[in-house]
């Protein structure tokens, strides 16, 4: 068998996990390389037959399961290929012989001769010695100490998070914003200003700053003054999934600021986690009707039957159903009617019960669609995250509207704290008609994600305009909160969490979906909590459990506060 389906190695993953006693993946090594393992995956040699690959998986994962590839043992093998080969020959025979009693497969394939050693340490000692060791069969593969040791000890097989992959120079001592005035007296650098703006952050100019050894300029200008002194840390080895930094794409339409269409915007506070206080009137948020002309022919929305069925099950309040064939109580009116009919000589169907079911909805949903630049990342099929999210927003809005809920769709992006924009694609009052759909399709990603301010404004809109007792904010976002003026990591997460807290205190439920995001969305998970965040490659993957997601987000409101918060008497 020469042409083996490259996916087929995955069929051994349960076998490998079983043998190793922990979750283990199976993949194919590059052609020409022998089988090996890195502790997370077993790589089988490409192009071999299934039976041979099975044997390779067997021996490699059995070695992991028996503890023969523990750190202290493998360290002794590093840089000594002969010892490693001898050790593999000894250990492979030993673990297979041990397994043979338990596992018929191991008994069938193991080499006939008895193992020469009885523990891993003994095998290592013999391997280092000079006594003759029978050569291992080719299917034992090889031990690659460097690959085994490269895997971080503590973290087992977690995907690299967005933070790990980002080119970042960790600030070790960020000066407080307050002591700007007391800075050094260095010259103001024109050169640095050149590099200050065009990228997603000031990283490059920071780098130059460091290289050129410039100190901070006096407080007058913005360019050098708010540039923190930092030290750099080399990024650890980058995996194959590394990508270039996302670069925001600006289209002319995104330049339409709120002021240019005559809206003044509203000011919102922001939570400053470092000083444990709100910054009052910190962000200016514009929401304005998106008035870009759009091609109406470009307005097809995919229907999702599963989603529709699931969402139609979301019942929030009890509703009494009359004249049911089955139920808890007799419906007296129906009963009297029935008797009248019977006395009059008819025989109508006996539907005279009352049934109480949770069917009433009264739900208002605001879909907040992340339209920031980071959503330009593309998936392997060339469809950007933003495309996925836009389609998901359209499908969700259409489905909810068909089910009779109040729906609004807003885009969302920011450009510093002075310009957080929420273009209204479909306000609560309008129908999700062809024009609105076309506008949604025409939305182009740009800018950053100041999540806290966006959530606060969206909550305000929900509060004032939805007009329903049950309100849900549905955020479609792919990454993590970030803006170009220091709104990032811990500060941004804390602010977003605070904004969600405020919203929940006001009785608005929140649910965040990450659709099509290729990277891990740890930050959103932390911000929204596990009950209110879900991610999937496409909306269709989430549809089957959308009713649970909606209900769990809405139930979060009714759930009691954690003990620690409730305990203190006020």
């Amino acid at each position: 068998m020469t042409a083996v389906d490259p996916q087929s190695a995955g069929r051994f993953r349960f076998l490998a996990s079983f043998l190793a006693g922990r979750s283990l993946g199976v993949g194919e090594a590059p052609p020409g390389e022998a089988a090996y393992t890195d502790g997370q995956f077993v790589f089988v040699s490409a192009g071999r037959s299934i039976a041979e690959q099975r044997q390779e998986v067997l021996v490699q994962s059995a070695l992991l399961g028996a503890g023969s590839l523990e750190r202290h043992l493998v360290t002794a093998l590093r840089g000594r290929p002969t010892v490693a080969r001898r050790y593999l020959a000894l250990e492979g025979r030993r673990v297979l012989a041990n397994l043979a009693a338990e596992l018929p497969l191991a008994a069938a394939v193991r080499p006939a001769e008895a193992p020469a050693t009885s523990t891993a340490d003994e095998s290592l000692r013999v391997a280092k010695g000079r006594s003759a060791v029978a050569e291992a069969p080719a299917w034992f593969g090889v031990i690659r100490p460097s690959r085994l040791l490269a895997a971080p000890a503590g973290r087992s097989g977690a995907q690299p998070s967005e933070r790990d992959l980002r080119l970042s120079f960790d600030p070790t001592d960020v000066p407080e914003a307050e002591d700007e005035g007391s800075g050094g007296r260095g010259g103001r650098s024109r050169l640095l200003e050149l590099f200050g703006n065009p990228l997603a952050s000031n990283k490059l100019s920071d780098l130059f700053n460091k290289l050129l050894g410039s100190s901070r300029s006096p407080g007058g200008g913005a360019a050098g003054g708010n540039m923190p002194l930092r030290t750099m840390r080399r990024v650890e080895s980058v995996a194959s999934s590394a990508r270039p930094l996302p670069v925001p794409i600006r289209f002319t339409t995104s330049g339409t600021t709120g002021s240019s269409v005559g809206v003044g915007g509203a000011l919102y506070p922001e939570w400053d986690v470092f000083n444990n206080r709100y910054r009052p009137e910190h962000c200016r948020v514009f929401d304005y009707p998106l008035a870009t002309p759009a091609d109406v022919s470009d307005a097809a929305v995919r229907h999702d039957d599963v989603l529709r069925r699931r969402l139609s099950r979301v019942g929030l309040g009890p509703k009494v159903l009359r004249r049911r064939p089955d139920g808890d109580d007799l419906d007296l009116e129906a009963l009297i009617d029935l008797f009248v009919d019977v006395q009059a000589g008819f025989s109508p169907p006996e539907q005279m019960y009352l049934e109480r079911r949770k069917l009433a909805r009264n739900l208002g949903v605001l879909i907040l669609l992340d339209a920031s630049g980071s959503a330009t990342d593309t998936d392997p099929r060339g469809r950007s995250v933003h495309d996925h999210q836009r389609r998901a927003a359209a499908t969700l809005a259409l489905t909810l509207e068909e089910l009779g809920d109040r729906v609004a769709v807003y885009g969302f992006r920011s450009q510093g704290r002075g310009a957080v924009r929420l273009p209204a694609i479909k306000p609560f009052g309008q129908r999700f008609g062809a024009a609105a759909r076309a506008r949604l399709n025409g939305l182009r990603p740009a800018g950053y994600t100041r999540l806290g301010a966006g959530i606060r404004r969206a909550g305000e809109i929900l509060k004032t305009e939805a007009g329903t007792p049950n309100r849900l904010l549905l955020v479609l976002s792919d990454g993590f909160p970030y803006d170009d003026d220091g709104y990032e990591s811990r500060y941004a997460e804390a602010d977003s969490r605070k904004a969600l807290e405020e919203l929940r205190a006001d009785g608005i439920a929140c649910l965040c979906l990450s659709i099509g995001a290729s990277t891990s969305t740890d930050a959103l998970h932390r911000v929204f909590g596990s009950a209110s965040h879900a991610n999937a490659p496409t909306l269709a993957d989430l549809s089957p459990r959308m009713d649970e997601l909606f209900l769990s987000a809405l139930r979060e409101l009714a759930a009691p506060k954690p003990r620690g918060l409730r305990a203190s008497p006020s």
Partner: protein, 268 residues
Amino acid sequence: MLAPTPTRAAAPFYRPLADEMEVFRAAARRGLPVLLKGPTGCGKTRFVEAMAHELGRELITVGGHEDLTSADLVGRFLLKGGETVWVDGPLTRAVREGAICYLDEVVEARQDTTVVLHPLADHRRELPVDRLGVTLRAAPGFQLVISYNPGYQSVLKNIKESTRQRFVAIELDFHPPDVEAEVVAHEAGVDLETARALVKVGGAIRKLDGAQLREVASTRLLIMAGGLVAEGLGLRSAVQSAIVRALSDDPDVIRALGELIDAVLPRA
């Protein structure tokens, strides 16, 4: 939906795991309600059947589902001819007759339904039937048994604390491999060697990380596979149809499970 199970003539086969039979007997003497916890197919229902038989009480079983209302348990008025007639629900019947009422997978039921059980499950031992305007005292011998599966239910569904604290909890689990092999051999009517092979398959699947499969191979699945073998099917194909295909619909998972089972089963 509602299936009263008549007690069988022959004693149902049950192998105790630990002291659960003594605990149940003691609780039965005191009339204390019992909560059974354990994974799917580990023998919860069989345990209750065995105990009911041993104690000589009738067993009334109700399967929980998400639309189970209190009227389904307590009873309702039905129209018969020209009159409305009250018909007892399974719970009311058990209360009147002093039977064991077993509510299977009670978490599935709506929370307002489980509240009906509260006055029955504490010292009052009474069932208010508000539609009739009467309060029934439980006959001696009445015992409430509920079961639930902590791993299988979603985070959203859980037993209310106030309900849970009224019950004596008994935790069941799969038997150790040797005992489970005897159980499979006895129930399926296969020889001990085949049963051991099946139990080994079950053990291998249970050893996999929970994240990869939603459910593990229960004793019930193993007995089913054993039954197929007893009917003359080959061991491999019995395991394929009764266990592998029952656990997953995903072709990748089925193939991966097939590889695992192929390695564990004795070579042909």
